[in-house]
Symmetry: C2
Subunit: 334 residues, 2 copies
């Protein structure tokens, strides 16, 4: 797993990373922009852990930290940028530092991450691409260093793990993920409350938007495909935008018999963000590549230009062609 | 935890239960009616385990086993009722045997269960009320007996555990639950596929029903209460009924700011099944008691008679009174 590359980025083992953390001080810990539970949970757990061993550290997030994370995201130390040691957590690319890229993108001393796609922008990298979440890496580091874990650290770590695994639902979950969860359950983490905050809380405006989207939804190709349009008008009427809309694409792959779920989010007068979710043998990545985008086999995206009607036709055509290739005799006539 | 009661039901320890299973043969394993993943997963895992140690066993379910469980619910042995040893799994009361109650209700030799409310109807009872699922009990039994677990047994056990924990989300999850999950992950269980089947698959007709219910939903008491009516007309139009409707009540507690979610399912011309979901300090059980029903603090139910309008008024009045008791100065004026 450890690649030796002459790219100026040094791969560290768990032991070397622990050594690095013990050796330095005055840490600035960076999360990625549009923060989620893993980047924040990892950053704060690392902060609490470093505090336990007498180090000064602060967490800096490129964006405002959503209120819902306040059960572990507390005020951190003040650390001056001069002589600081900069750590990025769960940041696969310096671009993902958003507003902090200019100031910190080229001076990250240590990057702790689990993304196989990590572009190796830091001076030192601890990468465990088998970890379901960066929080797993942080847990292993703190355990290896025999750092005392307390309830708030455990809450932050548990949040990171459930965020990136959909509460233990996804294919990245391993036996180790469950073993770590078992160990975190020994602390007073109130896991049901964390899961309620992370998974079972939907705003009224999002509920309203979902209702509109479902009213406008269309089934195609013998029910194998659903198309969910999220127009600018719907977004304006409900006040839902940005990351709040992410859940809509999830709906598209939860319907029985659906192999391709298309979400079309209007981003400008004649511009739509296409999110495609597929089940094997359909390959979302291959379909989105045809549309000028890309992604993973099960989830991919692209940007399409035109009216809603035009974009629908373009995307449905690409999905239809892919279906005709993989399903013998599927009825794609409309 | 083990209560000594002179009620003709003998409490068995794990060791005694293992001894019982080794001693007898020709097992008839019963699941409860309206079967779920835990009763079926437990029944089949026990069946596969008993087969491994050379015992004959069959699984009998009072209702048709839904197709979605076919990844572990296979054809079992033929066992004659004469001289059979009857085991019930995940059955807290003989009434829950449904169509099988008459034939088997009074002749259950061993009951394996995790419900604290178990009414002790069998001759022998292995009850672990700390287990999140009966499947946890079965796993412990098979482990204690050193019975070989194979992939299909592991799939059945994992299904039982995720069913009763909402995929590790609920408050019944303990460190032990995660440790067992970790051990089951060592087998080829394809957990993401099981979770997709169990949690992320919604029929088109249920989607249609949800759309109708959301269109008819009402917010009350400053947004602290949502009311979801599921009329007979909606059920007829979509063809959704019975256990398929269970997910609706879940929606009612997932909305930000909602402390009381009311679902009114029409069951006859002037009859409604009330499902109430609440968050502390509201107590669903206390509210439903006033309506002649009962349940748990967070989830309770009752039956109400009258037109939809009348039932709404009755239930909203009870919720309003409870809110006025626990929230100082809440605006319950409508």
């Amino acid at each position: 797993m450890k690649k030796k590359k002459n790219d100026g980025c040094r791969d560290l083992s768990l032991r070397q990373t622990a050594g690095f953390l013990k050796k330095h001080d005055n840490y600035i810990i960076l999360s990625h922009a549009s923060p989620d539970g893993d980047t924040l949970g990892s950053a704060y757990a690392l902060y609490y852990g470093l505090n336990e061993i007498g180090k000064s550290a602060c967490v800096i997030c490129p964006d405002v930290i959503p209120e819902k994370y306040s059960y572990f995201a507390r005020k951190t130390d003040h650390v001056s940028r001069e002589n600081a040691t900069v750590i990025a957590v769960d940041v696969a690319d310096k671009k993902l530092l958003g507003a902090l890229e200019e100031d910190f993108g080229d001076i990250v001393d240590l990057n702790i991450d689990h993304h196989v796609s990590n572009v190796r922008f830091a001076k030192n990298l601890y990468l465990d691409s088998d970890a379901a979440a960066t929080a797993e890496c942080i847990y292993e580091l703190l355990s290896f260093m025999k750092v005392n874990i307390n309830d708030i650290t455990a809450k932050a770590l548990y949040t990171g793990i459930v965020t990136d695994t959909g509460c233990f639902k996804y294919s990245n979950v391993t036996a180790k993920t469950h073993i770590i969860a078992a160990q975190l359950h020994e602390f007073d983490i109130n896991a049901p409350e964390i899961n309620r905050i992370m998974f079972d809380t939907k705003s009224r405006k999002l509920l309203e938007l979902e209702r509109m989207v479902l009213d406008a939804s269309e089934f195609h190709f013998d029910g194998k495909c659903i198309l969910l349009p999220v127009t600018a008008e719907m977004q304006e009427k409900t006040g839902c935008s940005g990351t709040e809309l992410e859940g809509i694409a999830v709906i598209s792959r939860s319907i029985e018999g659906v192999a391709a779920g298309i979400t079309l989010k209007q981003t400008d007068t004649e511009e739509f963000k296409v999110s495609l979710r597929t089940y094997p043998p359909l390959d979302a990545s291959a379909i989105c590549k045809k549309l000028g985008g890309g992604g993973h086999k099960g989830a991919a995206g692209a940007t399409a230009h035109g009216t809603l009607g035009e974009v629908k036709q373009t995307v449905l055509k690409a999905v239809k062609e892919a279906m005709e290739e993989v399903y013998a005799g599927v009825n794609t006539a409309e």
